[in-house]
Amino acid sequence: MTHLEIQNISKSFGENEVLDQLNFSVHQGEFVSLLGPSGSGKSTLFGIIGGMILPNSGDVILNGESIKGKRGSISYTPQTPSLLPWRTILNNVLLGQELTGKKDREKALQMIDRAGLKSYENSYPHELSGGMKQRVSFIRSVLSPQSLILLDEPFSALDEFTRTDMQKWLLDMWEQTKRSILFVTHNIEEAVFLSDRVIILSPRPASVLKEFQVPFERPRREELLLSDEFLQFKKEIYQEMRHAQV
């Protein structure tokens, strides 16, 4: 069943055409990644899905209903952590639930622990490193109750090991809860490792260049990363993107 449908979305800021007739969909419980050059309009698209930005034309359908200009239907990790500076880490993490759900301190504390931030529950954001803030922002959105999660480069500030660990954790959670995920990343490996489908956007004005169905079995193990099929698949995507950018 289709969960989210992007229908012919176009958007420009003044003269600057950003999105051009964008079309794709995300099925119920699907994990979809978006790959596209910097400045192609990925964050803008998230803004449109979240109801923050009105497209010039086109529509956004969630569960069969238009959510164009309507807010609160998605859970969101923004590209910059956007933590409230006057709240402790714990209270920042609980913010998403406060807005549209019920607070669950226990679970929040567990997750903070799981993300390697034990003992920082009562710190303030400015006392954290860049990667630590990003993890807090990630936990906040994962804790939010909505069934569609938008993640905008959630792991870009993490070292490879922490990143892999967070990826595994995300997959675990996703497999348990079967929420739909739309994931923006610049890391092709990450996109392939995590997703059911990878959507490649063209440079600005962005439209869908190509979609790849990821053929690997789940649950996926770290070993997959070193397999030939995986490397081959990565290369294919790489070529496709390079082609578009030159």
Partner: protein, 260 residues
């Protein structure tokens, strides 16, 4: 606490003492008559010996200040919130707010007394008029400056208008609110003194007017010193409240730049 007070307080105390010394010596050097400008020692002497005679005036004024400031700043906050949340209201009533700041007390006074008699009410109205404006303006500007990224996140995450306000705009505007409160706290003391011109039979403003009309300049200065001391106290109180409320910032500033 005592220690912190001392640490913060010795510099202003020093400056005040210096000021008093300069004042004292110039009064005696230039032979300024006491009816024009009494010396600090004269003022202090009168202040101490007359205390039983005017202490009830001080209490009366303190009461008035507290009630007036609470109502005035409450009004300022409510007005700012209302104007912020209801843009139509903001656009429509801005002129009225400015208008309220420009009705001279000499004109307002008879009207207030004619409408509300000689009781507490017209005095509270005067203090409220004086206090609410700086708070309303500062708070409105604080609301407007809410961080763009945070706003974006909150809206994306589905915050209702009310949540947006209470969880983001309000805490974000707290420093601005305190900026306004500090201005108003200072004005509320002056407002109380002015309001006592609206027919009072107690209060430090009343005491000062009587002293002035019987040419007791020394007492006038006792009154001024009390007024200034009250304002200072009140200002420091707000400052302290700010430190207590906005802990996340003050504690942080020390941490992030601990090089000299």
């Amino acid at each position: 606490m005592m220690n912190a007070l001392w640490k913060q307080g010795w510099r202003p105390a020093l400056v005040l003492i210096l000021l008093f010394i300069v004042w004292e010596t110039s009064v005696s050097m230039f032979d300024i008559p006491a009816w024009l400008l009494p010396s600090p020692t004269q003022i202090i002497e009168v202040g101490i010996t007359d205390w039983p005679g005017y202490s009830h005036h001080v209490w009366a004024t303190i009461q008035l200040i507290i009630v007036g400031f609470l109502i005035g700043s409450g009004t300022g906050i409510v007005v700012a919130i209302a104007l912020h949340l209801v843009p139509f209201l903001r656009q429509a009533t801005y002129p009225l707010i400015i208008l309220s700041q420009n009705i001279p007390v000499i004109v307002l006074a008879p009207l207030l007394v004619v409408w509300f008699g000689f009781g507490m009410l017209p005095k509270i109205i005067v203090i409220t008029l004086v206090c609410f404006f700086p708070i309303a303006i500062a708070l409105l500007d604080g609301f407007r400056q809410t961080d763009r990224d945070l706003m974006h996140y909150m809206q994306m995450a589905g915050a209702t208008r009310q949540q947006l306000f209470w969880k983001l705009e309000w805490p974000h505007a707290l420093p601005s609110l305190f900026s306004g409160l500090k201005i108003s706290a200072t004005y509320s003391v002056m407002g109380a003194v002015i309001s006592e011109w609206l027919g009072a039979s107690r209060g430090i403003g009343y005491y000062m007017t009587l002293a002035s009309s019987s040419y007791r300049t020394d007492r006038v200065f006792v009154a001024i010193i009390i007024i200034v001391a009250l304002s200072l106290l009140f200002f420091l109180l707000i400052n302290w409240l700010e430190k207590m409320t906005i802990r996340w910032r003050s504690s942080g500033e020390g941490g992030s730049s601990d090089a000299s």
